[in-house]
């Protein structure tokens, strides 16, 4: 039944479209508009249902290049997941700890994690980049970035 990747994606999209369509039917009415806020979403939901069904039943065979793109080694996926986890931690902490410290820590560790071995250059970039960005944004553009625990 779900033999090809397109069928699997088609099914997932169909479910998403159905949920979206269901939610658009729950939208409240506004009596004074000729075209209410729910018209476009309903249309989009139906369109997505049709397109996902078309993808499900399409007989287009995946090209070799497309297959190759999909074929990612498990280990590399874990590396990506780790990078996302690092970004997540950064977002979680950077308002409390501060832009400069968190950015320096992030750049150093993610570059090191991804295989950058020249640790001296790495330290220099990790320190200079956040200082430079902080100077540009806070002093030149007037956009404040979180100070965090640093006094400046």
């Amino acid at each position: 039944m779900l033999s090809t990747i397109n069928q699997r994606i088609g099914l997932i999209l169909f479910i998403i479209a159905a949920i979206y369509l269901y939610l658009s039917f729950q939208l409240p009415n506004y009596p004074y508009a000729p075209i209410d806020a729910d018209v476009i979403p309903k249309g989009l939901g139906v369109l997505m249902l049709i397109l996902s069904a078309a993808l499900f039943f399409s007989k287009v065979i995946e090209t070799e290049a497309e297959k190759a793109k999909r074929n990612i080694p498990k280990k590399e996926l874990l590396v990506l997941l780790a990078v996302f986890a690092m970004i997540f931690l950064y977002i979680l902490l950077f308002e409390a700890i501060g832009f400069i410290i968190m950015t320096a820590v992030f750049i150093f560790f993610s570059s090191w994690f991804l295989g950058y071995t020249k640790w001296k250059t790495n330290i220099i970039v990790s320190i200079l980049f956040p200082l430079g960005m902080y100077a540009i944004f806070v002093f030149a553009l007037g956009i404040s970035l979180p100070k965090g625990i640093l006094p400046i």
Binding site: P41, M48, V83, V125
Partner: protein, 499 residues
């Protein structure tokens, strides 16, 4: 205001010290980001948008335009040196540029690419200067139905011209519009799909989508390819010298393909990538010795390079005069306009002549800067290709995070950036094109508004879209652009079956 007066206004903006400075910054940053394999012009523009906060709109937009055509200019460098196109618009550049580099003529290839780019860019700006005001004065009479039809045509064109499956491209476009519907409906104030979350009331800022779907997703691809070679220190570029005979050889393709590129740039959906491929095939077809193509032919290098740069300026025609972007990249450019409080469209030329003409005039200047920068400085600029991938990845991630944080100072938006980054990566892995998504996201809100305005005018009668010739023909084109490629495929399959 005549075009002549307009250009005088434009050059006053472009040649002021601010104008010159920001054109220069724009083209340098564009060239550098464009050179990096994996980072395209959409990421380049999106990364630079936060820098423009609080700037005067005219110099800011002059800079953003410079980032765009600078990126297309710079993309050729990595195509030639590494056979790894900096952007998709320069894939065809590698066909003959890389063989030339392998023959030890990298310097010459870079110089030819620079000259062809300059030529294409400049010819195209001249045509932009002539066509954009004319189109503006026609478009001023367009009503909401025509606008809706135009945008619909833009979306169907980009879907049918996208690489790979048309169904997937259409799904991508519909998903883009679906994401816009999240938030408060501007006409009735109804909350749509917000699940009571106050962070969703205003919907998603386009920068979250652009940086997530492009910059962050491109970073993911870079992570997977981080061990690909970067430029080694000992790679010799060779002489940059271009002889008179070379110039003569490239003059034909350069002239022809500048026009082809411009036209394809103006049309919705096509843009630099398709233009460069069509120009390459075009020149190969008419060439007396097509067997030279792919082995380091000067013609094969000059054709796509003049074409992709011409397409870039061409793409500004619908953006400036209609306010409707025709590609993913110009969609993000439109976002840059809106961030600065400038609404491009038929009124831009009369309301904000300094912006309309300033951008056009700055492109002449930008192309000269690019030529001057690229010819003597290319060996030094190319050094950026030796930035270690892990460091590059970390820095681009930081640029994206800072960019999103500086719009709203809201951490929620950063998590959403992460979500769209993951979505963009998944789309790349499963071969769903991302440009239709961003174009649909930018056009979606405008389309809904135009649709509902039309329906208000007609009292809910859908016939308003087919009663007058312009919307009707645009909708027909939109429909045909989806159906014809399918029919052609079906016919060729039947032919194959008969054989």
């Amino acid at each position: 205001m005549s075009a002549f007066d307009g250009m005088i206004t434009g050059f006053q903006v472009a040649l002021s010290w601010e104008g010159i400075l920001f054109v220069l910054i724009g083209v340098i940053v564009g060239t550098l980001i464009g050179m990096m394999p994996g980072l395209g012009p959409i990421s380049a523009i999106a990364i630079m948008i936060p820098i423009t906060y609080g700037m005067d709109p005219a110099p800011a937009l002059v800079m953003m335009a410079g980032v765009y055509y600078g990126a297309v200019f710079g993309g050729s460098t990595s195509s030639i040196l590494l056979n790894a196109p900096g952007i998709s618009g320069t894939v065809a550049t590698a066909f003959d540029g890389y063989p030339m580099a392998q023959q030890g003529k990298a310097g010459k290839a870079l110089a030819i690419a620079a000259i062809a780019s300059f030529f294409g860019g400049t010819v195209s700006v001249i045509m932009l200067m002539l066509l954009a005001p004319a189109l503006s004065s026609v478009a001023i009479s367009f009503g909401p139905p025509a606008y809706f039809a135009l945008m619909l045509m833009g979306l169907t064109a980009i879907s049918s011209l996208s690489e790979g499956s048309t169904i997937k491209a259409m799904i991508s476009a519909v998903a883009g519009v679906m994401v816009v519907t999240i938030g408060i409906d501007p006409q009735t104030g109804t909350q749509r799909f917000t699940f009571g979350n106050i962070n969703l009331l205003d919907g998603f800022d386009f920068l979250i989508i652009a940086l997530g779907l492009f910059a962050l997703a491109e970073v993911c691809m870079l992570v997977l390819n981080r061990k690909n070679r970067s430029l080694s220190d000992d790679q010799k570029l060779g002489s940059l010298k271009v002889t008179r005979a070379d110039l003569k050889e490239m003059s034909g393709p350069m002239t022809r393909q500048s026009f082809v590129g411009f036209i394809l740039g103006v049309l919705p959906g096509a843009g630099a990538t398709i233009a460069s491929f069509i120009s390459y095939i075009f020149e190969k077809r008419i060439s007396k010795n097509p067997e030279e193509f792919g082995k380091g032919s000067i013609k094969g290098l000059a054709a796509p390079e003049s074409s992709n740069n011409a397409a870039t300026s061409g793409a500004f025609v619908p953006l400036l005069s209609l306010g409707i972007p025709g590609s993913g990249t110009t969609a993000v450019m439109l976002g840059a306009f809106l961030v600065l409080g400038v609404q491009p469209g038929p009124l831009l030329m009369s309301d904000r002549p300094e912006i309309f003409w300033g951008i056009i005039a700055s492109m002449y200047l930008g192309n000269i800067f690019l030529l001057v920068l690229n010819l003597p400085l290319i060996p030094y600029l190319a050094k950026i290709l030796s930035i270690p991938r892990p460091l590059l990845i970390s820095l681009v991630i930081m640029f994206s995070l800072i960019g999103v944080y500086s719009i709203s100072f809201n951490v929620f938006d950063l998590y959403m950036l992460l979500v769209f980054g993951a979505l963009g990566f998944a789309m790349r892995v499963f071969s769903f094109p991302a440009p239709p998504f961003i174009l649909a996201f930018i056009l979606g809100g405008m389309m809904e508004q135009a649709f509902r305005q039309s329906m208000t005018i007609s009292n809910g009668n859908l016939a308003i879209f087919v009663n007058s010739p312009l919307p009707l023909s645009l909708i027909l084109i939109a429909f045909l652009s989806l159906v014809i490629p399918g029919l052609l495929k079906w016919r060729s399959r039947r032919k194959l079956a008969k054989m």
